[in-house]
Every structure is written in C-alpha cells, then in structure tokens.
Symmetry: D2
Subunit: 388 residues, 4 copies
C-alpha cells in the first residue's frame, strides 16, 4: 500500500498548532525537572516552536497562554513570530494559578471573583484582537474536592452567566472554544467534566461557541472517536488538543500510548468532514515533555499526527461501506486495519524530501546544533516553567 | 438527628416503580440460576411486585417490557394489577433479543430492519394507550464490536430519523425517554453511550422527549450526581433507573455498592427540584437478583432509596449554603456528612408503623409465607427469565 | 524493514492453541445469536479448529473444556484430532454451570460442594492422562455479589486447601495453571482476582503450579506487559489466554482493541525468555465470536499474534539498550515504534507461500467452501453453545 | 445499636500515625496554594501534629520524611516531640526530588545512582536508630513515561538487588515496608505498581520486610479489602497509608470519597487479625489538604478512622457467619449494613468526654485559638511545602 498523490495533496494542507508551554519545563506535583536551554521568554518559546515547523512544515502557528505569554507589544511579538516563520494562534485564558481562583473562577460564588475572571477573558480577547487570533480557548480548573464544598448546580448556572458575558465580547470572526476535562486539579467534581456539559454550555451561547476535545480528558474506556463523530454531526467540534495517556491526563506525546486510537479518531475526523481546507476544526497539541527533550518531542508529535492522518486517509471507504452493508464484520474490520498497518513512513519521507524538507526531521534537527546553541546561550534568567 | 415531620411528609409522596423482569430469573453470560417460585407470566410478576408495595407502600406501579410482557388484553392486565394494589407503569421497548437486530435496530443500515424496530415502538405506544402509561422508555443494545464494523456517524443519523418517527406517534400526555449506557452488549461502540448523546438526541425531538439515567451505565469514576444536576438544570431528566455496581453494569441492589453515592445523587435530585409532588422525574428500579431472593431484594431496594432520600432531605441546606459562602470546606462537607451518617431507620420504622405498615418490611414479608406458597404453586410451565 | 531469516526461523516454532468453545455460539447475557454450521459435538469443534491450522500452520492443538467436551473415548477423540492434523491440548475444568456451584466451587463453605469440585478436577486429570495433555487450567467463577455474602478470608484459605488436593494428583509431567480474573460473573469480590493472588496460591503448591494470564482479565489501565515481565522473572508464567477488550472481559479477537498493547506484551515475552523452543509458556486463544464468523475469526486471531510476534522480534535490542543507557527517551521509544510500525504482512505472506501455505489464509479459507459445507450439513441436533 | 464497652476498650488502643508533610502546603501540578500559619520547620510540623493528638488521643506519633525533615540532632527532635505529647514514627525515604533520580533511584541503570539511593536509605536507617523508629517505609517514584524508555525486567532485577542491600542494614527490631502505587509520577510503567510486586519483592527479602497498602494507589474498581484479607493471610501486611480518592491518587481525607469502602477495609482488618494490641500492622494517614485547613483536616481524618473502626467492630460476626452458612445473601449483607448504618458518633462523643477529651474535637480545636496564633506567629521564612 503506498501513499497516493491524492492523499499527499490532502496532507499538504495539514496544520497542527503548537502550545507555547510545551517548550517550558513541566512535571508532576512531585517534581519538575529542569533542562538546559529551556526558554525564559515568550519569544524564546516561539523561536523553539519555529524549529518544529522548520523541519516538518506542519506547525505554522503557536498558541499563547495568558498570563504566561503576556508581553507589552503583541504587534512586535507577532512580527517576531513571522520573522521565525510562524504565526500566533489560539489564545488560552489560564485562570488556575491566581490565589483568587482557589475556589473557582467563572463559577465562583463571589461576584467579584467571577468578574475578575471575566475581565481576564476580556483581556485575552484584547490580545486576540492584537494578534489576529481566531480562537479563545477556555479551560477551567474550576471544581471542588469534597462533596458539599460547593453547590454543583449553582456553579453551573454561574458558569453559563459568565460565559455569556465573555461571548458577548467575542468578535464576529472570533470563536469561544470550551474545553472539558474529566478531573484534575479538582478531585470530587469538575464544572466542565465531559463533552455533554461543554456542548450544552456552548449551544446556549451561539454559533461561534464550540467544544474543544482534549484527547487525554476522558474517563477510562471512553470511546473518543464516537465523541468526535457526534460533535462533528452536531456542528460543534471546534478544536482538538492532542496528546496521549495511559491513566489520567498524562499529557504524553500524541500517539504514544495508543496509536490505534489516534488512527480511529482521525478516521472519524475525516469521515465527518473535520479535515481539509473547508474544515474549521483546529488541530493543536496540548502536551508536555517531563522527561524527554522538548523540541524533538514536539517534532515527533506532529509527525505522529501526520503519519496517522495519512493512514486514515488511505482507508478504502468504498470497500468499507460495501463490507458494512454485507454485515461482513471481519471484512470491514480488515479494511480498516489494512490502512492502519500500512507503513507510510518511507513514502512520507520521500514526499518530504520532494518538498525540500529533510526526510527525517528528527535527525535533521538533532544535526542542526540548535539544541546545543540554546543550551549554551540561555543561561541565567528564570526558565519558563509551568508556573512561569 | 431525628427525621422530622416535614421530611416524613415529603417521603409520603415517594414512589419507586418496579421492573417486571426483576422478578424473573436472571444471570450472567456464564449461567442463569433458577429458583423455585419464579413467575411464569406477566400476571405472576405483577403479583410479586404487589408484595413489595404491600409491605413498603413505596412501589405503586410496575414497568412492563415488551415483548416479554405482551398479553392479549391490557385492560384485563391493568385490572389484575389494580386488584393487587398496583398500576401498570412505564413501557420498555426491548429490541435486543430478536435475530433481526443482531447488527442494530433503530440504527440498522437496512431500512427494513429499522422499520421493524420503529413498528415495534408503535406497538409499545399502543400498549401505553391501552394501559394509560405515561413513558415509553427506549434502551438500545445497538452498537458494534469491532472498529470498522459499522459507520458510527451514519448510525447516529439514522437513530435520529428513527426516533423522530417514533416521537411523532407519542401522545400529548406521553413521553419518550431515552436511556444511555456506556457499553454492553456492544463492546467497541454503543450508539447511545453517554448522557450527552441522549441529551442531544432528545433535544432534537421536542419537549416530551427526555433522558433516562441508569445509575449503573457510566464509565468508571463518573460523577453521576453532576449529571443529575446538569440534566435537571437543562430540564431533561426524565427518569431514573436505580441499581448499583462495582465494575460494569452489575445491576446490583441500589445502594449496595456505594451508599454515599446514592446519597449524593438524591441530594442533587432534591436540590434541583427532581423530588416531590411537582416533579415529573420518574424513579424506577432496574436491577436483577442473580443470587439473592427476588421479592426481598426488591423490598430491600425500595427501602434503601427511601432511607437515603430521608437522609438527603435532612441536610441543613441553610447551614450548608453559609459554609459554602465562607469557603469553609470542612464545615460544608461536615454538614453533608452529618445527614448521611444519621441513622434514620428507627424513625422510619416508627413512621411506617404509624401508617399501618410493618416496621420491618423484610421480616414481615418473610413471615407472610408468600415465598413458600409461590414455590409450591408455581410448578411446571416456563419460568420467566431474561429471555422469557 | 524486512522480516529477516532469523525472525522467520523463530516464527516457525510458534504454536497457538485454540479453545474448542470458540467455535460454538456465544454471546452476552442479553442474547446469544445462532449461526448456521455451528458445531454440535466435540468432534465438529475439532474439525473446525483443524481448518485454522490447515491455513495457518499456527494452531496445532485444541484445548478442551470439561464437561462441555466430555466423550466416552478420549483415545478415539485424540485419533480424530490427529486425523484432522491437530492434537488435544490443555484441559479446562469448568465449574460455573452446575447449580451446586451457585455460591462457589473450590471455595465453597460446604465441604461436600468443595469435594464435588475437587472430584471434577480429578476427572479432568483423568482426561489429561487419556489425552496426554500437559496442562490443567483452572479458572474459577467463585466470588460474591454483595459485601457480607461470603467470608473473603475463609474462602481464600479453603481455596488453598482445595488446590493442594488437586495438585497432589497432578502428574509429574503435568502442570496446574491457575487463571485470575478481575470480575465477572461475581460482582463484588472474586476469589482469584489478580496475578498476585494466583501467584501466591501457586507458589504455595509447588514447581508445577503456574499462573495463567488472560489478557482481558485486568482492571482498566493495568500495564499487562509489566505482569508478563514480572511472572517470567519469578518463573511462574504458565500460559497466556489471548483476546482483547475495550471495557471488561469483552473476549474480542486478540489484537483488535489495542494492537500496540499486544506488541508490548509480546516484546516482554521475548525479552523475558517466554518465546521459542526452550520456553514452556503456552500460547492460547480464549475469546469468542459473538457477531463475526467463528473460523475466520480464529484465523484472523492467530495471524494477529504471528504478525505482532514478528514485529516484536524485529526490535533492534542492541540499539534499544544503548538508547536506554544514554537516557535517550525519544530515541529508545523510536526504536520500539520502528518495529511496531513495520508492515510485516507482505514478508509473512511470501514466507507462508514458500512453506506451501496460502499467502492469504483468510481468502483461502473463504474460497475453500468449508463454511458452506458445514452450514448445509450441520442441520438438526443441539448447537454447541456456551451452555452446551 | 449502641457502641458497647468491649468495642470502646478495643478502640482505646487505636493509634493512627500522622505524616509530617500533611501539615505543609500541597497541591497539584497546576498550583500549590499557600496558607497562613503553615509550618516552616520539622518542629513546627510536629507541633501541629501534636494538636491532632491533643484533641483526639488518636495520633500519638508522627512519620518523618527524609530529607524533608532532616535535622542535626534527632535526640533533640525526639525530645521536642515528647514535650508536645507525641513520638517520632516511621521514616520515609523520599527519592523523588533529586535531579539524579530523574530516570530512577533503586532501579536506575547506572550503579552510581543506585548506590546514591541505597546510601540515602542507609542514612534513613541511621535516623531510625536515632529516633527509635520501627519502620523504614520505601515508596519509589521509579518508572518510565514511554514504552521502550526503560527495560522493565532489568529494572525489577535491580530493584531486588538494591532492596537486598538496604534490608541487610535494617536492624533486628526494625522493618522495611515497601509501598506500591498504580501510577504517578510515572505514566507508562511503575516499578512497584501493585501489591503482587511488593509482595514478591518483600518475600524475597525476609520476615522483617512487609507490604504497605496505600488506599489511594489502586486501579479503578479494585477491591481493596480483598487485598487486605490476602496480605493478612500471607502475613505480609505491614502498614496502611490511609486517604481517599475519586479518580487517581487524590490524597483526600480518609473516608471522604467512599465511607462504605473504608468500613469494608476495616472489617477485613479486624477479621484478619490486623487490629488490636497484638497486631503489628501500622495505621497511618498519607494524604494532603490542598484546599481545606490542615490541622482540622487531620483531626477529621483520624475521627473518620475511629468512627468507622467502631462500626466495623460492631458487626455481629456470629449472626453473619450463620447467614453465610445458610446462603442467605440478603440476610448476611443486611447484618453488615446494620453496623455500617449505626450512628456511633453520639456514643463516641460521650466516651471521649468520659476520658477527659472534648466531645467534639473539631469544635474544641477551632475554639482553642491555635490556628490564629500560628497564623500570626509564623511569618517569614520558607513555608514547608511539597518541595520543602
């Protein structure tokens, strides 16, 4: 099975946004290990992200996290990015590291805290206006640790009110994308724990409010590709946060834990019209590299998505439909597996070379000396880490 | 802490519908153990269900499963029930034991099979018209076992079409209630796997389409009381199927596996207006008794719900709101736990006696000799079991 | 990456035992769907199993389940098998379908029931003596559904006593292999729920008592390859029951749900010395085919194991060890993934043809007409199903 | 049901060790919220722990974590503790916050790192010699994040070697207790992930090596009381780390998430001889208070254990055994539930007062002004937090 020209053409349009925080140090509650060369500024993060795009042509934009990536001049930051060959993308509104939000942000019982959180989102929209970003991504750490600690129902109502105020400020060409997460950092209840909640909340807002699906944010055993198919059907799949996990929200490299699951997800994306130039679904990474190198980790990740998209595009959909119509369970499954087991890597390497890229982006980056340079140069200052 | 008069008054209106199939034999794929006295007809199931109501005054109605409980004359069946002190309730449309549905019913690729399943629901509505039942409960076994076996997205679209046809037939005083289930009997994908799917489907139908929440049908770790709160908020909680589970859909006695979870669920029911004379939320059992006695199993179950409802009604909501407003995590949790740890059983027994019931319904039933009578009488014929 | 000669040589010795029950009808507690051509006798099951071996040269033996496969003359059954090109293998002692075992078999509180179960195992050993089988496989449905129903500790002690009596009868060239399972059919506690319990029990018996690892019998998220590595290290991995699952013990085709997990398992098998002519670890399938065709389902299964074993054998272990020593996380992971993503199927098809087999066993079987023949011939009689 | 004198006598001997780190700040990878009055030194932690004992008489000792609680003079620390009415207890050997252990400690491929970790345990034993502690508790963060990153089998062998060296240094009156954990901080494989691994490792060491069971360290759905019963049966249950969880290792207050599970665990502890003056099983808390007050959080926790122990002691074991023998499933379960639902709190409060303690320790502590004092006094310096 070879990757044909039609597939390659479709792959050409693929773009996977990188998260700025992936280039900083990260870890668990037990320990954040530091590494030489870790960025200290938003600019250094963007410069690193640009390396990923340089070797893969897959990641033309970088998502910002506010306040982590706050700068005085976003025009300047935008030009910096463009000078490095990338653009600024989605703006994430972090409301989980301020002491005021210990008991909630948009859901908080205290109107003053809610307003503070709403104002923070207004500020994010200002940033979007300055950067030309399309998407405001809202992920909330809001929740409680003990039964009784909060009023689950009241919090949901307040969430709806807060989101409505934010949505009213979102521009005509902009979108609000609401991410859900099963648990963590809250351990008893989370205010947006599942796709149903995100869907109900954004449906109440309007057409430019969408759901963000993070592949690591589900209960054990959840069939994620089903949710993909459902959200596409409902017209509410706004974006993906890709990563992988064995247990909880492990934030490992996308495709690392269960490659076949990634394949099934991408197959449903394509099946449902979520891939290609006409789709508005945003593909993003949202993962971190606690023990492995960060830039190569991101390169590996976008390649994983590209390779698996190629496999998903190679499914013989006519034959599959025929086998399904014949109730030929093994035949239908076999057609899907044929594409999954196809080794697309040599074809993609050749194609990459035909476009003036290195056949092996991992090796090319390693040989470039960039890692050594930043390790030597970035000495002193405060490393951008989780809390930066 | 004593159960006060206001709580007792509220408890008086509580009604928990019993499922006819709970009185038949049931089991796992490995073995169905038979027991003496097991009903052989719908009438015998109703007679058994009436025993539960006789000793508890908690279960005035019995849910039917069609085709299991098909009879020629539903008027007669209704009179039989009333003669025994109970009414006929929800009608369940079983579409999982006909060979035609091996690859789906309302979602099937073949229009003829879909129509057969739709017609079966029409028949169920006819039964409802005859019995005066309010709710048509739809639980589907539809799904696939292998990736590729079916077209997840197409099946969802077909489900919407089929449900719309059924809903068009539902009477002005009737409701369609769509149940979701995480998995089983399908092992790769289920067509209505979560509350979000059920909610999206019934929202597209109209006001008289609601969600049924079965407490055993969720992924591990799911916060069920959150879903209760959310569905009540959205005005879409139609009914409960109560049972409990340690692992999958174990269908154990409600409250047996995690009493505190049942308490939290009932607290959110009350908090969200789902309890009391003004609520339209139906309380039902949906569980089976594989190794324990069936009638006492049902008595134990309705008592569990009653006792836990009493505890949930005893939460000092003013004090709780104050503790929440003060961000007093331990105080708020403590107020909830105070109600949970209250031993309401003596007060409820006394109240029961004051209403002319036995204080200990389990003991009263055991002493009644009913079990011995049916064991002796119900000899010969085909026991009503899972496949009856 | 091509499958080299050394790998092919190792693959030549691979043997995967088939379970006789896989050829009978099976299903869930909701429904067992029947299919034309389903075997009605142990002989017909063996004939079907022989078809799998005929097209794959991978499954030279068939496991028996007693009492399902009881016959009057095991010599004759053995000759029948050999005439069809296969042998009789492991004997499974089913103790889950007799009414006496409703509350336990080897763990039962009643000494008479325990003795009955022990005697059944003695009978199984007699069968083994007659068939020349090496392994007595013990899987118990024993457990309880409700807290308090049984005495967990006492049951464990009785289990130890019962197993000791059985082990004393096991021949010098025979083994007792104890399988564990997380849950089902028991829903609160299971008497052998995890590898630790099986290990503790068989360690107390002696050298010829081993653990059986069924790949579908673990809690969500369990790292199965770790258990493989640990049991091989402890010298107690007796055999594998292969299958796959998304949720519970789904008993799907091995490799169908998570191919990468199967790869990792097989890699640890090889790493730990569990593969090859010197290993005593038995490879078996233990799965069923509820909606798909049974013989092709088994063919697909053994091919999945073979293909994944080929990939696992292709891991560049020297390079992997070097990358691990260099703490090169991405490099080490990449080396493993290189083998996983290798498409070994063309090479294996060519090799198969070089050995006089069909390159595509699935197609060859489909073309053979066997399925049509048995569908026409096997009419009347009682289909061998789960309860057969 | 009242708490009888015999039960109260047994409760008198109950002791639950407190972890020093519970009094410091803690949190998730997203944020550690600081609170006024948080200890800055081991002494301040001990002083806080002593408050818990003062109001409950339940926590006469404090566990140390090395290096967090390193001091120059352990005699002095011991005297400080005794002056505050408590003793120094178990010593925990933290090997997860040193950069050297990024890729493992006792399992590391590099002998130099392993020796460093072994030496750290030797240092811990020196501390034990100085403090008179009985138990060296070993919990390892060792594991890997990606398949291939490490050699699972080799790491297990190295773990055995390292533990053997440490065990050889453990004194005749001391014990090595090995804790297991399902996952976190490692996300692909953990070197001691389950009780089976801990059991196999400590069994190889000798009689003074035991297993530590942390109630939050299991896969979803795991029956923890079964493991309790099994480890007691095998004579290898060394100690408990109590806490509770809804999802992963949430480290919530013991009994907060699933009180009935705590009851079942304590019932099996008592059933298996793990409670009372003759038992060597250590009861400890191992939890943290991210959003709630810390000292009251610990008071609530030890009370939860005490109250649930009282309930477990109240089970009518004779009646239970009779019901089990009669295969009376509902009766046996009912006997267990009778004890669980008993409200022991009034009796325990009265008993507490009869011993000169406050009936309501939570209220007494709140009224004491201690919290206000430490909040005012402990200003400046470095708060003892997770990384302290």
């Amino acid at each position: 099975m070879t990757v044909n020209a039609e597939t390659l053409l479709l792959l050409e349009s693929q773009a996977i946004e990188l998260p700025s925080w992936a280039f900083g140090n990260s870890g668990t509650r037990f320990k954040v290990f530091g590494t030489p060369g870790t960025p200290r500024t938003p600019q250094e993060k963007i410069a690193d992200a640009a390396q990923v795009h340089k070797y893969t042509a897959l990641s033309p934009s970088v998502a910002l996290h506010i306040p982590w990536d706050k700068v005085d001049d976003y025009d300047e930051l935008g030009r910096f990015a463009e000078d490095h060959g990338v653009k600024l993308g989605t703006v994430n509104s972090n409301t989980f590291q301020d002491d005021a939000y210990k008991f909630g942000s948009l859901t908080h019982l205290d109107p003053a805290v809610r307003q503070k959180a709403i104002d923070h989102h207004f500020e994010c929209i200002d940033v979007m206006d300055a950067t030309g970003s399309r998407d405001l991504k809202v992920w909330l750490a809001d929740g409680t640790n003990y039964p009784g600690q909060g009023d689950i129902r009241g919090r949901q109502d307040r969430l709806a009110e807060s989101l409505a105020k934010i949505y009213a400020r979102v521009g005509a060409e902009q979108r609000l994308v609401l991410e859900y997460k099963f648990f963590e950092p809250a351990f008893y209840h989370t205010d947006v724990p599942d796709w149903g909640t995100s869907y109900a909340q954004v449906s109440a807002l309007g057409d430019r409010a969408m759901v963000c699906l993070d592949t690591g944010h589900h209960a054990p055993g959840t069939n994620i590709e089903f949710i993909v198919a459902q959200l596409l059907r409902l017209g509410k799949l706004g974006s993906f946060d890709f990563n992988s996990r064995f247990y909880a929200d492990d934030d490992l490299i996308v495709g690392a834990a269960d490659p076949f699951q990634l394949f099934r997800i991408l197959y449903e994306v394509i099946r449902g019209g979520g891939f290609g130039p006409d789709s508005t679904v945003a593909f993003m990474l949202d993962q971190c590299h606690n023990v492995e190198e960060k830039i190569p980790g991101q390169i590996r990740s976008v390649l994983n998505v590209q390779e698996m998209t190629a496999r998903a595009l190679m499914v013989d959909t006519d034959a599959l439909a025929a086998a399904q119509a014949n109730e030929d369970v093994l035949g239908a499954n076999g057609i899907l597996m044929d594409a999954f087991y196809a080794d697309v890597r040599p074809d993609l390497a050749a194609w990459r070379e035909s476009r003036g890229l290195a056949g092996d982006p991992m090796a090319a980056y390693a040989a470039s000396g960039y890692q050594e340079t930043i390790s030597a140069d970035r000495v002193g200052g405060q490393q951008a880490s989780w809390g930066a």
